[in-house]
């Protein structure tokens, strides 16, 4: 479903991704792990179309269609969802207004009728309940004054509303206490479906205790240096990333 081949990307002239290859099939959950600065967030950003990243080579296709040529909103319409590491605050715009705008932008695109306020509320309330979110969230300005955990829950809420084909969750587990982590993981698990792919970008193994991945990849210095099953995450948890610097270099080109 998602096919990344030889993806290279730069930020301010500096090459961060140096040839990433990755295939994710529908129905799968993949985890991308790696030390800080390995390019995990850059990968998520490039897939979503963030302009600060300059694509320098390679291809990305979703269901066989080129993704890199599309504007961010077009990727969204195609089914790409990015759960932000740092969700953005928009003062004065209530969560409800934002969620409805996002939902209706998609429905318009698909030629479906827009949801009116009543139908929207019924839908969003149902979803919020599952995430143990208070309804008061709807009437607060988007992410403004939200705690870290509230922001992340809000990202998951948006994901469940938008029902993406490909969900990229960038460090969604960071800054969560154990209860919030459990709720967020529950949200992700609920979205696992045969026609959907989920990519978890994470530094820690913690989230993977709750969301069992089908595949785990280690990103280091802009390349995927190791791939394996769920056991790889456990190993990383035990040994950290340091050992990769030596063990992982066996098949990888030397670093300067």
């Amino acid at each position: 479903m998602l096919e990344i081949v030889g993806l290279r990307a730069r930020v301010g002239g500096k090459e961060i991704l140096r040839g990433v290859d990755l295939t994710v099939r529908a129905g799968e959950v993949h985890a991308i792990m790696g030390p800080n600065g390995s390019g995990k967030s850059t990968l998520a950003g490039v897939l979503a179309g963030r302009e600060t990243y300059e694509v320098a080579g390679g291809t990305v296709t979703l269901d066989g269609k080129d993704l890199l040529g599309l504007a961010p909103e077009e990727r969204s319409w195609a089914g790409v969802f990015l759960g932000f590491q740092y969700p953005v605050e928009i003062p004065g715009v209530t969560n409800a207004t934002f969620l409805r705008a996002a939902l209706n932008a998609r429905r318009r695109r698909r030629g479906e009728p827009e949801l009116d306020a009543v139908d929207f509320l019924a839908l969003v309330r149902r979803k919020m309940k599952a995430l143990e979110m208070d309804e008061a969230f709807l009437h607060r300005s988007l992410n403004e004054g939200f705690s870290g955990g509230e922001k992340k829950r809000n990202e998951i809420l948006q994901m469940t509303l938008l029902e993406p084909r490909l969900a990229l969750l960038d460090e969604t587990d960071s800054g969560l206490d154990i209860d919030a982590l459990r709720v967020v993981a529950g949200g992700v698990n609920a979205l696992r479906a045969p026609d959907r792919a989920i990519v978890l970008v994470t530094h820690y193994q913690r989230l993977l205790d709750y969301v069992a991945p089908d595949r785990v990849h280690v990103l280091s210095q802009g390349r995927i240096v190791l791939s394996g099953g769920p056991e790889l995450a456990k190993e990383l948890e035990k040994k950290g990333y340091g050992w990769l610097q030596t063990a992982g270099t066996a098949g990888a080109p030397a670093r300067s």
């Binding site: 979503a48 179309g49 963030r50 302009e51 600060t52 504007a71 961010p72 909103e73 990727r75 969204s76 319409w77 790409v80 969802f81 990015l82 932000f84 969700p87 953005v88 928009i90 003062p91 004065g92 715009v93 209530t94 207004t97 934002f98 705008a101 996002a102 932008a105 998609r106 695109r109 300005s141 948006q158 938008l162």
Partner: protein, 488 residues
Amino acid sequence: MSDAPPRTRDDETLAQATSGEYRWGFVTDIESESPPRGHSEGVVRYVSHKKEEPDWLLDWRLKAYRHWLTMKEPTWPKVTYPPIDYAGIFYYAAPKGTSGKPKSLDEVDPELLKTYEKLGIPLKERAALAGVAVDAVFDSVSVATSYKSKLAELGIVFCSFSEAVREHGDLVRRWLGSVVPSTDNYFATLNSAFFSDGSFVYVPKGVRCPMELSTYFRINAAETGQFERTLIVADEGAYVSYLEGCTAPKRDENQLHAAVVELVALDGAEIKYSTVQNWYPGDKDGRGGIYNFVTKRGACRGRRSKISWTQVETGSAITWKYPSCILQGDESVGEFYSVALANHRQQADTGTKMVHVGRNTRSTIVSKGISAGHGQNTYRGLVRVLKGAEGARNYTQCDSLLMGDRCGAHTFPYVEVRNPTARVEHEASTSKIGEDQIFYCNQRGIPAEDAVNMIVNGFCKEVFRELPMEFAVEAQKLLAVSLEGSVG
């Protein structure tokens, strides 16, 4: 001798239809010519004579004119414009003829028509707004008439200023200049000498005006000219909500607009004055556009009276305007809610003055400035608490939103407190619509322009909710149209 275009038969028909005189069978000497360009006592007399004004009003105008000659144009506003050639202006534009006007919509700038369409203005009204002669204007006569009789039953006077001078001279004489004296400031004084027309409202004791009063319904509003004068008096316990302007960009040949608005609220009275201003802002490079130099002031004369200004200012090349409240009555309340937009090369220097005179007077100021393109937006506000204003309170919130990095936002809050029991609060913020906000919206499938509209509407929410419902909806659309092309 005159530089004015010769008048034709059509001009007269239109002049009659639009001056309000037609309905009342009032005949004037429409054959005579307009005065030449430039100002003089002769021109003041001419204007007054054309309007068949009583002597007291002529004297009032003359006094203003003589004073104006001694005044200097203010230079303190944070705006720049080439010198205005006061000798080159026509000070009395008689109801305009069809000569300079488009004959049909086919002759109107297609860009303007596109804007009307986006704003959802009905077809027949578009023609009138674009300055096309006749039809639509006639259409509204019946609307205006039925509206007026309903008000008359309640004793409410709502008419053009000229008509008020004729029919309600005593009321006009009593209140004219009582809030903005004829010698107040350069532009107000100019207006006092040459004011063309405007609106007059009087709401009698204890009467609550059952509908929003709007100039939109008044057929002669189309020809009020560049020196508009509005006077609204709410007698004891009265209430009135007045809507000024229209969201459609008006076509106008006059570059300088110096209007005066005076409000008087007596004991327990309340006046709500809402403005949507969308005069021609000039093109993207700042050519053309209206200079909107307005003096608006309300006096809360009575105990527990209230005056509330709400404005959405998106038009004009230059805006210079500070709707103010003089809180004289004990426990009187003044409010100012403002959204001012400066896009492209627009410049806005706007804000308010709250002068606390009476005891336990309260004022609220909420100002939202939006700058985009090369726009320069200045908030200038004065909160003055006089010695006797025991227990006065003010809350000021002043927010600026920037789009792009070539525009500017400036804030000049002045606070003068002479009573130690006063409480004055000021909050200010400046934010920028960030790439990250836009990207976040894009990622959720919301295109950039929709995202900007949503963010801007969120920013302006506290002001929009003060507007009457249908005005609020129009104002939102208007902002969207005014900001088009300012992203991406």
